[in-house]
Every structure is written in C-alpha cells, then in structure tokens.
C-alpha cells in the first residue's frame, strides 16, 4: 500500500497542529499525515485526575528526558554550564502542550532587531508588524486572557479574554513593584472561558487549557484526509538534491521501519529533535546533514535562565497561600530596549509561595495548633525572572551515537554561559530583592535559596535552526523554508533567531499560523 500524502508533519505539538488546521480549513481536499514519536496519554481520565490531585504524577511525565545520573540516561549536558533537561518537554501525542502553563506573551518590537540594535544575537527576517496579525489569531485559538492596559508591544485589537485577577499576595507584591518604579501587570494566560480554576492546570479535568491533543482529535474528526500516527519515530528525511520526498520512520508498535512520502514536509519536532533529524539525514548532496551546507544546523542553542529571590516575612496573619496554579502578577518594565544589551528581564511572582503543605503536615502527625502556627507564622514570598541570553555558535545540540527511548537518538547539549551573565544576573537579583525588601521582606544572605541564579533548563530551548535572510548564517528563510531545499519547512522554537525574555509558545503559534497561510496562498496551493 502506498503511503503518500500532500503534506507530512513531523511532531504533534502546537506548531504542527496549527499548521495542519490552517491548511486543512483552507483546502479540505489536502491529504495530511502527522507522525509523532511519543505515545498517546488520556486526558480527562477520572482516575488519572484523582491520582494527580492526591500526589501522583500525570502519566505523560514518564516521557521526560532521563538525564545523566539516571539508570538509563538519554540526554547529556557537555558544556561548561550544566544544562537541565528535567521536565522540559513532553514526548507524547500533543507534545509539550500536555504540560504547558499557558503563559502567552508576545515578543516586543526590539526582540526582532537585536543585532541591529545592540549587536547581540541575530535579527529576525520579519518584524513585529509582520507577525502582529498572527499573534492576534494565535491569542484567539489559545484563548488568551490579558489586561489591555498593561505594558507590552502595541496591539491592534484587545485580548480575546479578560485577565485573571491578582491573588491577594500578588497585590501585596505589586505594591513593591510600584515602590521600585516598575509597572505591575497581569500575566497573559491561555485558558478557555469554561475554566473553573481547579488549580490542577497540569492535568485539567475539564479541558479548559489548550492542548494540541484535543485540537488534533477535533481535526481528525472533521477531516477524513487527516491521518495521525503516534509511536512513529522519524529517523531521517529522504532527500534527492534540492527536494525532499519523504521520511523513513520506525513504527514503535511493530518495530518495523517504513517510509512515508509527501509533496511537502514540515519539521515541527521541537528545538532538540528538529536539528537532530536534519543532521541524521545525510545524502551525497547533503554530506553534513540536510540543510546544513553552512554548518548552521544545531547551533546557537539557547534557553531561559531563571533567577529566583525568596524573602522571609515575619507573619502571615491572613493565612495566604497559593490559590491558582499559575502566577498572575508580572512586569515587563525590565523587558525594555535599554536592557537589551545585557539581556532583558521578564519578572513574575513565584507561584509556590506562601506555602504550607496542610494535608502533608496532617499526614505527618502534626496537630491543629502546630499547623496553625505554620500557616499564620512566618512566610516566604518570592519573585522569579527569566533573563535573556543570546545564541552562540559554539552552543550546540547534536544527536548522540546511542538510541534512547522512543527510538530517538540520545541528545547532547553543549552549552556555556556568556562570561558576563553571572555579573548581570547578580545585579538583577539585587533589584528583585529590593522589591521584596521594600514591602517588609528579609533576604538571608546565608540562605542559598535567598537569591539564586539557576541553571539553564530546556523548557524554552530555541535557536537551533534559526531563520534568516543569509543562507550562510541561518537554516530557514523568513517563510521557514529550509535554504536550498524546495519543499522542506521547519516550524519550531528552533527557528527563533533570539529567545527574547518571555515564554516562546505564543510566538511559535503565530509563526505556525503564518506558515500554514503561506503554504496555502503563496506556494501554488501548498503542494
């Protein structure tokens, strides 16, 4: 039986989903196939939800990367700075939307022009004005709630949903923001209108947070020509000169290797797997990997480093504790052009504090009086921030020689921080601490958790197949087409030339919608 389709997508996260939907809705006769290496896990399963709220892990967590030090490591940090893989991506049908927090922030105008402005990173081949309409569409699809009065890049139309109000402790911290000259804002969060604020956002029992899995199920029902295959790991893309014609993949359910052919291939496998697949796709025309004529694939790996400050307050007289599962207080007052040279900073409330594990203390045999003392006694409040880093040619993601789970090659990340980062981060940590001190907090200089520059964690990995105008310094063009390959596109955080200071998912979603539209309208029908 011939396995041919008009369009083949590798990956099943938000990027692949939004490209597929855009194309299918515009041209329902298209045959579209999607291959996903990971398995499918149920959503809205009563038992799983109860297990989760009673303290067990959602099933999808079993797909997280196993790092060095675990019994079967499959992801390795090789550089001078330890790179953390833990909990950073879900390898399952639906991708990392299975666990994402829904933070949906637009990049700002200057993020697209970093090199021109401050000679760091690279310029995007598109501007904020180019992507703004796609941000608006993405916010609609993901159902983003925000406050139109908050700081941020210009927007033509208001947020589709209202913002979530600050919790009482966040209002308290916001006063510190104001005292220190920052403008407090509301975290733009993706939640559908039916959200009942269960506080179990990592496993929503009522589908009130966007997941690609739900979206794909709706598409598969609506379009008979759309086929999804999970537990199918793409091993390489088959190329013939300047064209690709299919993929070779491993069917994990049978153990057999098969080929699938397509007129257009879209690589949407994230910032780790996308470059790894390209580098493993070697032909006489592409001896260093597909699209890698200029040694750009898998380079410029970057993510966000988190800064954390915790301050102690003498009492918690009203018994505050976290009532959402996400922060709603943020500020973009340090996410500004004047900070771009050193790395912009995105500041937000630490959602874990104040914290007393009420049930845990009861289970540990504490009496009511003891628990009241903990609940109303001294408390911690915290602030977190992402600091922007810029891609460096020598920071790479490469496939290892061994095979990990799901038939995927092991992952090797070589990353070393810029020499100035610790100095810059130290200043920012002091500024963050000053906010909490302004409202009465005390930061213990001997407490290693008082002010912390954390290790880079892979959640927001980007830059490994960056887009650009110059084929010798980038992997794709402005329309995400791989340079010198006629019909291969990349839709992933991998194409970001800079990571900015905020979460990448909304920008990725906007790029995916834009790509789907481009393929339909600017390439002769897309196939």
């Amino acid at each position: 039986m011939s396995d041919e389709s008009d369009v083949l997508l590798i990956g099943s996260g938000v990027a692949a989903t939004l490209v597929a939907e855009t194309m299918l809705r515009a041209k329902p006769s298209l045959s579209v196939k999607m291959l996903e290496a990971g398995p499918r896990f149920p959503l809205r399963d009563r038992r799983d939800w109860w297990d989760y709220v009673l303290g067990e892990d959602p099933q999808y967590r079993s797909t997280y990367d196993q790092e060095s030090g675990t019994p079967s490591p499959e992801s390795f940090s090789r550089g001078q700075t330890k790179w953390l893989f833990r909990e950073s991506r879900v390898r399952a049908f639906g991708g990392s939307t299975m666990h994402w927090g829904g933070w949906s922030l637009r990049f700002k105008e200057e993020d697209f022009e970093a090199y021109s402005r401050v000679k760091r990173g690279a310029d995007w081949p598109i501007t904020y004005a180019d992507i703004e309409p796609w941000y608006e569409k993405a916010e609609s699809v993901l159902s983003v709630g925000g406050d139109n009065a908050d700081e941020g890049p210009w927007r033509k139309n208001p947020f589709p949903q209202p913002s979530f109000p600050w919790s009482v402790q966040e209002s308290f911290i916001a006063k510190g923001f104001v005292e220190r000259g920052l403008k407090p804002g509301h975290m733009p969060i993706a939640r559908f209108a039916r959200c009942m604020t269960t506080g179990t956002c990592k496993y929503c029992p009522i589908a009130s947070r966007y997941t690609a899995q739900d979206h794909l199920d709706l598409l598969a029902e609506a379009f008979q020509s759309f086929k999804i295959q999970s537990s199918a790991t793409v091993l390489e893309i088959l190329a013939d000169g300047p064209r690709v014609n299919g993929v070779r993949y491993l069917d994990l359910t049978t153990g057999e290797t098969s080929e699938a052919y397509a007129g257009t291939i879209i690589l949407a496998a994230g910032a780790y797997e996308s470059p790894k697949i390209l580098l493993r796709s070697v032909t006489p025309d592409w001896p260093n990997g597909l699209g890698n004529r200029h040694d750009q694939v898998g380079r410029y790996a970057v993510t966000h480093t988190m800064l954390r400050v915790l301050a102690r307050f003498p009492e918690n007289k009203d018994g505050w504790f976290q009532e959402y599962d996400f922060p709603t207080l943020m500020s973009r007052s340090w996410d500004t052009p004047d900070r771009q040279k050193d790395g912009k900073v995105f500041l937000f409330n630490n959602r874990s504090y104040p914290r007393v594990d009420l049930a845990g203390e009861m289970i540990r045999g504490k009496r009511r009086l003891d628990i009241d003392r903990m609940q109303y006694g001294a408390m911690y409040l915290g602030l977190d921030a992402f600091i922007e880093e810029f891609g460096d040619y020598s920071n790479t993601i490469r496939p290892g020689n061994a095979t990990g789970r799901f038939g995927l090659p092991t992952t090797e990340v070589t990353f070393s921080r810029h020499e100035d980062l610790e100095k810059v981060a130290g200043k920012v940590l002091d500024e963050m601490g000053a906010i909490l001190e302004k409202i009465g907090g005390t930061i213990d200089p001997m407490d290693r958790n008082g002010k912390r520059l954390m290790n880079p964690r892979g959640d927001h990995t980007s830059g490994t197949c960056r887009m650009g105008s110059d084929p010798s310094r980038s992997v794709t063009n402005a329309n995400l087409k791989v340079h010198e390959v006629d019909n291969l596109y990349i839709c992933s955080n991998a194409v970001f030339p800079t990571a900015a200071a905020v979460n990448p998912t909304l920008t990725l979603s906007a790029l995916a919608l834009r790509l789907g539209d481009h393929l339909i309208h600017n390439t002769g029908g897309g196939v």
Binding site: R194, G199, V356
Partner: protein, 162 residues
C-alpha cells in the same frame, strides 16, 4: 504467649489484592466514618456532607483500574478501623492519626500501615482539597473547583488593584 493484634499483623508493603466485587453499604459507611473523623480530629468545621459525592467519586475511581485497584485496601482499612474501635476506642485517633506515620511505601509493614498509607492519607488529602482548606483561609485550592473566572466574585482572595 503473646499474640499479635490484628492491626499490627505484618503483611508486606505491596498493595493488597483480592476481592474486587465492590464495597458493601456497610463498608462504605465505615469508610465515610473514617473520612469525617479527619474533620473532627483537626477541627475542620466544614459541612462534610457536601463533600460526599466527590469523596465517593474518588473511592470509585480508585477501584476501576486493574493496576492499582484499591478495593482490597479499602476492605483492609474497614476491618482495621472496626478492630481498633472494638479494642482501642479510647486511643483510636491517637493511634491512627498521630502515632502511625507512614509516608513512603517502603515503610508499609502492618495492616494498620496499609490502611494509613493507601487509604487514610488519601482521605486527609481529599478532605483538605474538597473544602477543609477553607478553615485555614482561602477560597481556592489545588483540586477544588474554585469557580468560573467570569463570576462576579473572583474564585480566589484578591487584594488592591493598583
């Protein structure tokens, strides 16, 4: 000759398997009694009857999978509780809630350990998340249905809007 009391009988750490025919009304009554005792012991003055349907949903959902089916653990908890009521009624709360602390499966040895680790610990968590947290302040909690984001009253405690 010393005889080991029923609740201290060692039965190993693995989750119990056995009769999966379901819980009788009497067994459910005892389990509910254990659940509401959590509220009494920690003086959580919430209306427990309003939690009953969701508490039952938890019980039911933890008996519907072949792997990790809690049916036999529920029955063990019922028999342990009945035994302690009959033989240690004065010290029941102290024995169950304050002296038997089991927070890791590797520490589970006796029938009482099983009842505490697999059932009563979960009842404590369930009691807190279904409403017990309100006794410590707050309107919302992980696992509680806080309410619509569009409601007139926010589903959480809020402060000043700056």
């Amino acid at each position: 000759m010393n005889t080991i009391e029923y609740h201290l009988e060692e039965i190993g750490p693995e989750i119990l398997t056995g009769d999966k025919s379901g819980l009788s009304d009497n067994a459910l009554t005892v389990l509910w009694e254990i659940f509401i005792r959590v509220g009494h012991v920690w003086e959580l003055k919430v209306n427990a009857s309003e939690m009953r349907s969701r508490w039952f949903d938890m019980i039911e959902s933890r008996m519907i999978k072949d792997s990790g089916d809690y049916s036999a653990e529920y029955m063990n908890a019922v028999t342990v509780w009945r035994y302690l009521e009959a033989h240690h009624s004065q010290d029941l709360d102290k024995i169950v809630f304050f002296e038997t602390i089991v927070t890791a499966s590797s520490s589970v040895k006796t029938r009482l350990d099983h009842a505490k680790f697999f059932i009563i610990n979960d009842f404590i968590k369930c009691f807190i998340l279904l409403s017990g947290f309100k006794e410590f302040g707050g309107k919302n909690y992980k696992g509680f249905m806080g309410g619509s984001r569009r409601a007139d009253e926010p589903p959480i405690r809020t402060g000043d809007i700056l």
